[in-house]
C-alpha cells in the first residue's frame, strides 16, 4: 500500500486532531471551574473529599464532601466525558456543610471538589480514584 503526499498530510492532520480530542474534557473542567468561581483564585484546606482509592466498579462510587461553613460545594469528575457531577448548596438549616452520594466514573481519574466560602473565597481538594477493570462481565 502506498500513500500520496496529500493522503499522508491528511493522516498527519488526523493524528494531530486525535491527539487534541482527549483534552476536551479538561477544557470542560476549566469551564466548569470558571463558571463556579468566576475565575477567582482557589486555595486549599478547609475542605475534605473522601473517595475510595480504588473503586471496584466505576458505575457506583461512594464519595463524601465536607467543607465546614461553606455556602456551596461543586464536584467534578475530571476524566468523565462530561465532568460535572453535582453542586451542593447549603441552606440555613444545614447541620453541617457535608454530603455524601454515589457517582459514575468513566475510568481512573482525579475527582475534584471546590467549596465556596461565605467570604467569597474558594478552596479545593482532589482525590485520585483508580477504577478497576472487572474480571468477568457476567
Amino acid at each position: 500500500m502506498s500513500f500520496t503526499r496529500r493522503e499522508t498530510l491528511l493522516m498527519a492532520m488526523g493524528t494531530a486532531f486525535a491527539a487534541v480530542v482527549p483534552f476536551k474534557a479538561f477544557a470542560d473542567v476549566d469551564g466548569d471551574i470558571a463558571a463556579f468561581t468566576g475565575g477567582a483564585e482557589i486555595g486549599t484546606g478547609g475542605i475534605t473529599l473522601i473517595a475510595p482509592e480504588i473503586a471496584e466498579n466505576g458505575n457506583t462510587v461512594p464519595i463524601e464532601v465536607d467543607a465546614p461553613g461553606a455556602v456551596s460545594i461543586i464536584v467534578l469528575a475530571t476524566g468523565n466525558p462530561t465532568p460535572a457531577v453535582g453542586t451542593f448548596n447549603f441552606g440555613p438549616l444545614a447541620g453541617a456543610q457535608r454530603a455524601s452520594t454515589r457517582i459514575r466514573l468513566a475510568g481512573t481519574q482525579d475527582v475534584l471538589a471546590i467549596a465556596k466560602m461565605p467570604d467569597g473565597s474558594f478552596v479545593q481538594a482532589t482525590q485520585e480514584v483508580k477504577v478497576t477493570i472487572g474480571g468477568c462481565g457476567g
Binding site: 453535582g86 448548596n89 441552606g91 438549616l93 447541620g95 455524601s100 454515589r102 459514575r104
Partner: protein, 109 residues
C-alpha cells in the same frame, strides 16, 4: 417517563432542640445519562433527576443540582439542624418535569 420512581427518606422520629441529625435519601430512578446507545446505535435520551431539595418548616436545608454522573438510584446523605418540631419536605425534580415529594415529621422533646 421513568417507571417505578419511589422516593425514600430516613429521618429520626425525634430530636433535641437545636440537634444536628443525619438524613438519608434514596430514589429509585435509572438516571439515564444521555451517553449510552441502544442496540440499534441510537443515543438513549438523557433522563435524570436533576435537582433535589430538603426544607424544614419552609427553610432550606440543602439544594442539590445533580448531573448525569450521579449513579442509578440516587443516594444522598446530609445533615440538618432541628430548631423545633416540624416537617421535613423532600423534593426530587425529574428531567421529564415530574416532581416527586416525600415528607417526614420530627418531634423536638
Amino acid at each position: 417517563m421513568a417507571d417505578n420512581v419511589t422516593p425514600r427518606v430516613r429521618v429520626p422520629r425525634e430530636a433535641a432542640a437545636g440537634e444536628t441529625i443525619t438524613i438519608k435519601t434514596l430514589i429509585s430512578h435509572p438516571m439515564e445519562s444521555g451517553q449510552r446507545k441502544d442496540g440499534d446505535g441510537n443515543v438513549i435520551p438523557r433522563s435524570i433527576i436533576n435537582r433535589f431539595t430538603c426544607e424544614f418548616n419552609g427553610e432550606m436545608v440543602i439544594d442539590v443540582a445533580f448531573e448525569p454522573a450521579i449513579s442509578t438510584n440516587p443516594f444522598l446523605e446530609f445533615e440538618a439542624v432541628v430548631p423545633e418540631s416540624g416537617t421535613f419536605v423532600f423534593t426530587w425534580y425529574d428531567d421529564d418535569s415530574s416532581v416527586y415529594t416525600d415528607s417526614k415529621d420530627i418531634a423536638v422533646n
